[in-house]
């Protein structure tokens, strides 16, 4: 449906959520933006991000009215500069402290990693606040409260738990984090909640987990039982870890070879299955998240189907393949032509430099190209899909909301950008 048709009936079915945008316009926005980002070595990204959010927000219609993003690119730029002003001294202090304490490599790296994770989660939470307070709906803005440091701590601990349980705890930690975020989110004086249950996500995701994580674990367990550990230990000690020890070990223990083979094939199968089932995971997670959103008496439901998400990812693969084909062909032709010309000079240095420059250009073009394709087809595609399949109930409550709240600074955005975390 074109935007004109959609707009001509402004009061759509009450409670309906629609996405009005035209994908062609978004492609143009993204491609032009990507070119400018490369040319300005990244400085233009704040303007691109602002344009993207304006497009996505403005085309999301809820109960007949569209969202509005009123953030400015300059706010993002200032937030970034501010963040740099904080991060640079932080990095320097950290390096100096590590040097003073005479620690080498591993320990400071681990501590630094944990600190960066913490800072990243802090930045994400503040960035979320920035985006919410710049979102206007029916003349009222959204808001977010709650301590970002507490969120960061929770997030870090949750990640730790997920890793330790090999992913089994993910549904419950997700629910916990979403509950924290939504309970601190409000639209005017309408308070948010998250009604999704960890158990529901667990049941939906269990088949995936069994196939992706369960199979390798089972294989490892099986391998452990196949091997005579005592004998293996003795042989390892005797061989003194020379280069040939692995081969002799395998020759002496055919079971070891089989066990290793089983484990490797189990892991490979697991990776393959993970790739194939990834859209299923995304669909399940998205539907669970959307249908858990609550604002006061307003509830959101989702009719998202797994096959719709699959279609999105298959489109992605197709476009990536086409891009790769195009890049190889164009790249090959360019290299041939340029080398032909440059080869006339018979200057080895010039030839090498030219090859290097062309390779770099092809690399950048392919990376930017695939990123743009991903953003248009998957990121925006899933946004559109989520919106089109969502619906509100109790939307009458949307008519009686009163204004509260003020805008927040863009520091969180800046930090998230400087640390390389963040999404749309």
């Amino acid at each position: 449906m074109t935007t004109a048709e959609a707009v001509s009936s402004p009061v759509a079915a009450a409670g309906a959520v629609r996405f009005l945008g035209n994908e062609g316009a978004y492609w143009r926005l993204r491609i032009k933006g990507a070119a400018l980002v490369v040319v300005t070595l990244g400085i233009y990204r704040f303007w691109l991000a602002t344009d993207v959010r304006r497009y996505l927000w403005s085309n999301t219609e809820i109960s007949g009215d569209t969202l509005e993003y009123n953030g400015l690119a300059t706010e993002l730029l200032i937030g970034f500069l501010f963040a740099i002003a904080i991060l640079v001294p932080l990095y320097m202090v950290f390096a100096l402290v590590a040097l003073e304490l005479d620690m080498v490599a591993v320990t400071p790296a681990l501590i630094g990693f944990a600190l960066l994770l913490l800072l990243g989660e802090y930045a994400l939470y503040r960035a979320r606040r920035y985006r919410l307070t710049r979102t206007v709906f029916r003349g009222l803005r959204f808001d977010q409260h709650g301590s970002p440091w507490r969120y960061a701590l929770y997030a870090l601990v949750c990640w730790g738990i997920v890793i330790v349980t090999l992913g089994l705890a993910y549904p419950w930690t997700s629910a916990f984090i979403e509950r924290f975020k939504m309970r601190n989110t409000s639209y005017g004086d309408l308070h948010g909640r998250f009604a999704g249950r960890g158990l529901a996500l667990f049941w939906r995701g269990l088949p995936i987990w069994l196939l992706v994580v369960g199979v390798p674990i089972f294989a490892i367990g099986g391998m452990a039982r196949l091997i005579d550990w005592n004998m293996l230990g003795n042989e390892l000690a005797a061989s003194q870890g020379g280069d040939d020890s692995m081969n002799t070990l395998i020759q002496n223990n055919p079971q070891l070879a089989m066990a290793i083979g089983i484990v490797i094939s189990a892991f490979s199968a697991s990776v393959l299955v993970a790739i194939v089932l990834y859209p299923v995971f995304q669909a399940v997670k998205l539907r669970w998240w959307i249908s858990g959103l609550r604002f006061g008496a307003v509830a959101v439901t989702s009719q998202l189907r797994i096959r719709q998400v699959y279609r999105v990812y298959l489109r992605l693969l197709l476009y990536l393949f086409l891009l790769g084909l195009l890049a190889s062909v164009m790249g090959g032709m360019t290299v041939a032509v340029v080398l032909g010309i440059v080869g006339l000079a018979h200057n080895a240095t010039l030839t090498q430099v030219t090859i290097g420059a062309i390779s770099l250009l092809l690399y950048v073009v392919f990376m930017i190209g695939s990123s743009t394709i991903y953003q248009v087809i998957v990121a925006a595609g899933l946004w559109r899909l989520g919106a089109q399949t969502a619906a509100l109930s109790g939307e009458a409550a949307l008519d009686g909301v009163r204004a509260t709240g003020t805008a927040s600074s863009a520091l969180g955005e800046g930090l998230a950008d400087a640390l390389g975390v963040g999404s749309i």
Binding site: V37, R45, V353, M367
Partner: protein, 424 residues
């Protein structure tokens, strides 16, 4: 703020039309009739024709909206009141009267163009700073770094380097100074190094160790620890050749090259890593930029160390051309190939430069025959010793850690990727 009449005018000169109004205090959607008066917009309720508000043209600002909708906000108000106009005739009339609305987005485009141009200027300035400014700054700052700090930096890097180079995990046996041969060789080495130190008068103590690696290489860490590889001793045909190489490394120490390289790498990392943004494919550009700048810088540094070596050898009474001799001999064995981004100027250029600087003439070798023989055997297995020198070709070490390669000013290529020339 009232202006003229409190009821909508009926004449055709004043354009009017339906719109949707949100007053910013409550989320109720109000159907209104908007009149585009002389000084501003008058908003009348559609139900009872009551005047709800008046907005001056000067205060009007366009907000992000889907295609076909003119969404207006008021500048300078904390309330986010919104007026949404879908009637194209009315929208056009309002755009005629309100200059601030920037019809067609001309002002916005002009601003963006300015942003892009400024960014391009910033990029040019950045490249200029990186290529010229950073090395100059690093050179100015390096002497200011306290020697104690540099030694700390050196010892921090030292263990990393050891771990990388000592691929056979010989631990203490990695250094050739144990056993009868090792001790004798050590004594000879100390004599040689002593004569060089007397001639050089370095700002802080220097320590030289010969380690069991078959590559022809030597490098100096910040803080004055110099590593010479067994391959160097093996390929040298006179003590002056070894001395020439060691004097070159002492040049790096005297010039504080290790610290300079670290400062320069940090500066480049900051400029290209942090200031530039996070754009996909940027990683490749950053690496390429750093590599190019670093290698051009390294050539100057190595040439300066060559000059230093000639000076010291002359003062010590040895043959200043010995360095050129061994360089020429070693590279004649290998296939030189094209080294565009080599960290050294072409060896031929170096040989020519050294020979031009150093007067040819007779000189006495810096070590007597007996001491030279002992030094040659420094890494040979002692009669009752347990350590064996690895014979035959060994694979080049895995790539070293970034800090290791930044800090060590290599004589050959980067210390962790020393070239092999097949078996001795």
């Amino acid at each position: 703020m009232t202006l003229t009449a409190d009821t909508p005018a009926a004449d055709a000169a004043t354009p009017s039309g339906p719109a949707i109004y949100f007053d910013g205090t409550c989320s109720v959607r109000n159907d209104v009739v908007v009149e585009a008066g002389a000084a501003g917009l008058r908003i009348f309720s559609a139900k009872n024709r009551r005047l709800l508000d008046e907005w001056l043209y000067a205060e009007l600002r366009r907000q992000a909206a889907p295609d076909g909708v003119l969404r207006l906000g008021r500048h300078g108000e904390t309330l986010l009141a919104r007026l949404e106009i879908r009637d194209t005739a009315l929208a056009s009339a309002i755009e005629d009267r309100a200059v601030t609305l920037d019809r067609g987005g001309v002002a916005e485009r002009r601003l963006r163009r300015k942003v892009v141009i400024l960014s391009l200027a910033a990029v040019v300035s950045l490249i200029f700073t990186a290529v010229i400014g950073v090395p100059v700054l690093a050179t100015r700052l390096a002497p200011l770094v306290p020697i104690a700090f540099e030694q700390k930096l050196g010892s921090a890097v030292d263990s990393q380097i050891r771990a990388t180079l000592d691929t056979k995990h010989l631990g203490a046996g990695f250094v050739c100074d144990a056993g009868a041969n090792g001790a004798a060789g050590r004594a000879a080495l100390d004599k040689l190094v002593g004569r060089l130190k007397a001639a050089a008068a370095l700002p802080y103590p220097v320590r030289v160790d010969v380690v069991r690696r078959p590559d022809f290489n030597a490098f100096a860490l910040p803080g004055g620890h110099i590593y010479a590889f067994q391959g160097l001793i093996d390929r040298a045909q006179s003590p002056d050749e070894v001395a020439g190489v060691l004097a070159h490394e002492m040049g790096h120490v005297a010039h504080r090259d290790g610290t300079r390289t670290v400062l320069q790498a940090a500066g480049l990392s900051f400029l290209f890593g942090m200031m530039l943004g996070d754009f996909v494919g940027g990683g490749g550009v950053v690496i390429a930029a750093k590599t190019v700048v670093r290698s051009s810088y390294s050539r100057r540094v190595e040439a300066a160390a060559d000059v230093y070596s000639v000076g010291v050898m002359q003062k010590a009474g040895g043959d200043p051309r010995a360095l050129a001799t061994i360089l020429a001999r070693v590279t004649a064995d290998k296939d030189e190939g094209i080294k565009i981004l080599a960290d050294h100027p072409d060896t031929k250029d170096r040989v020519i430069a050294i020979d031009a600087l150093a007067p040819a003439g007779a000189s006495t070798p810096l070590l007597g025959a007996a001491d030279w023989a002992a030094l040659k055997q420094i890494c040979a297995p002692s009669p009752a010793g347990a350590t064996t020198a690895p014979a035959g070709a060994t694979t080049a070490a895995a790539s070293g850690t970034p800090s290791a390669s930044a800090a060590g000013s290599a004589y050959g290529k980067d210390p962790s990727s020393g070239a092999t020339a097949g078996s001795k």
